[in-house]
């Protein structure tokens, strides 16, 4: 016993070192546990406030490019307005309603159930990084505004990321710029070629903040430089046809390989991101419940 105490005292510094390192590593590997670490990231009050102050100043230097992107987004929306199309047949107009529609007679027959699926909330970016292996974006909306983990986030031009944690007034987004190798377990997006409809997986290789990689595209796909790649809509996170990027170059990894790897120029400019939209899928719970119960039935 005495020897043990002498031993411990002699190597006290080393044991202290081991203890502290273990504490740090526990922090690192507990990051999946949202509630415990939410106070140790930039969604907490102190650093959130500091970043908001900082952004108030820094924002002015980006006003011009922010305006440009908002104007082009407005333009895209105006193009879709019903009034910008000439209608030959006035009876063909379709009115959308989020309520259940019934016939007017006493039978009350159900005519249609168009319900809202995606709800958008705007948010201001208060902190953003692009040069780390895993990049995070802090926004000034939190659980008070209905932001919850795993909601999709898009910018004025295209996909941005997925909400990771939310405190009362702030939320942290994992940016699309998160280094991964494109395997199913790592951070990647299901995507689709807009013209021909082939499906692939988009991920970031960690080298350049302006480009991402799309893999597993069949060789039969007809590819042209500048073609648009959009979200597939398979996951419950993003609606379909959201821009991800544009084809820059493409190559076939091995001669016998059946798939093409494409380098995409990102639609979103992560270097001057100022406003984002958080997408809530109102039918997500229903979709996931159904999928889970189907999986259980198969077991």
């Amino acid at each position: 016993m005495r020897n043990l105490i002498i031993f411990l005292r002699r190597y006290f510094n080393f044991f202290l070192f081991l203890l502290l390192e273990v504490i740090c590593l526990v922090f690192v590997f507990r990051t999946n546990n949202f509630q415990r670490t939410v106070y140790l990231n930039s969604a907490n009050g102190v650093s959130g406030k500091l970043y908001t102050r900082y952004n108030d100043i820094q924002y002015y230097f980006h006003l011009k490019s922010t305006n440009d992107s908002l104007v082009s987004e407005n333009l895209a929306l105006l193009q879709q307005l019903p009034t910008s199309f000439e209608k030959k047949d006035t009876a063909s107009q379709v009115k959308f309603d989020t309520l259940r529609k019934f016939t007017n007679d006493t039978a009350r027959k159900l005519l249609g159930t168009e319900v809202r699926k995606f709800l958008y909330r705007s948010a201001k970016v208060v902190n953003n990084s692009v040069n780390k292996p895993v990049n995070f974006i802090t926004i000034n909306r939190g659980s008070k505004d209905g932001i919850r983990p795993n909601m999709g986030v898009i910018g004025p031009n295209g996909v941005v990321g997925v909400v990771r944690t939310a405190s009362e007034n702030y939320a942290v987004i994992i940016s699309l710029l998160t280094k991964s190798n494109g395997s199913t377990s790592s951070f990647s997006f299901s995507s689709r070629l807009k013209n021909s409809g082939e499906i692939g997986t988009v991920y970031w290789d960690g080298y350049d903040g302006g480009y991402v990689t799309m893999k597993d595209v069949p060789r039969s796909a007809k590819l042209h430089k500048g073609d648009t790649v959009v979200t597939s809509g398979f996951s419950a996170v993003f609606p379909e046809n959201m821009n991800i990027g544009y084809i820059d170059t493409f190559y076939i990894g091995e001669k016998a390989s059946t798939s093409v790897t494409i380098r995409l120029k990102l639609a979103t400019n992560f270097y001057n991101l100022q406003y984002v939209y958080v997408i809530e899928n109102l039918l997500r719970d229903e979709q996931e419940r159904l999928e889970d119960s189907t999986r259980k039935m198969l077991k």
Binding site: F12, N13, F14, L16, F17, L20, E21, I23, C24, L25, V26, F27, V28, R30, T31, T37, L40, N41, S42, N44, V46, S47, L50, Y51, Y54, Q58, S129, V130, N131, K132, P133, V134, F136, T138, V172, K179, N181, G206, Y207, D208, G209, Y271
Partner: protein, 169 residues
């Protein structure tokens, strides 16, 4: 100015400089300079080793709070705080560096000794930090390039710091 006050001010200023300036500058995808660990390097020679490690932990956690890295900076800082006495021991002449309250600097250690000390410590910090943050050895070239380029950038910053705050005392 007392050593304690000087170090408290240095702690705050280095953290603010790291968060407000260095993390915002995009030199290149592969170059992420860090200056904040200079606080650990410049603590006095005679500081007790447990205190050194706890200060490293505090410094790392403070920066982790701002950069969403949750423990990675803290692990790297504790790592260099633990290894600091060994590095200093190897570099020190017979009987140690003179004076009870002296801190590592160009004047107390000599230019070449100080340069080796800073280079080794910064390299160790960057190895620990980037290994943990990339957390994959699948792409060793990526990791190695990032460590070497970032170390060079950080050393350049420390050189500028030393030129700015050089004192003959």
């Amino acid at each position: 100015m007392s050593i304690l006050l000087r170090n408290i001010i240095r702690f705050i200023l280095l953290i603010l400089f790291q968060v407000m300036v260095l993390d915002r500058i995009l030199v290149h995808q592969m170059v992420n300079p860090y200056l904040y660990m200079l606080f650990v390097l410049l603590l006095p020679f005679n500081i007790p080793r447990p205190a050194l490690q706890f200060l490293g932990l505090l410094l790392g956690l403070t920066l982790d709070m701002f950069s969403d890295s949750m423990g990675i900076h803290a692990a790297a800082c504790v790592f260099i705080a633990y290894l600091r006495p060994f590095v200093l021991n190897i570099l020190s002449p017979q009987g140690g560096f003179e004076g009870p309250q002296r801190t590592p600097s160009v004047t107390t250690m000599g230019i070449s000794q100080f340069a080796i000390y800073v280079t080794v410590m910064v390299l160790l910090h960057h190895i620990a930090y980037f290994c943990l943050s990339v957390f994959s050895f699948a792409d060793p070239l990526y990791l190695l390039t990032k460590i070497l380029l970032s170390t060079t950038a950080s050393l350049l910053l420390i050189l500028i710091y030393e030129l700015l705050f050089f004192s003959r005392k």
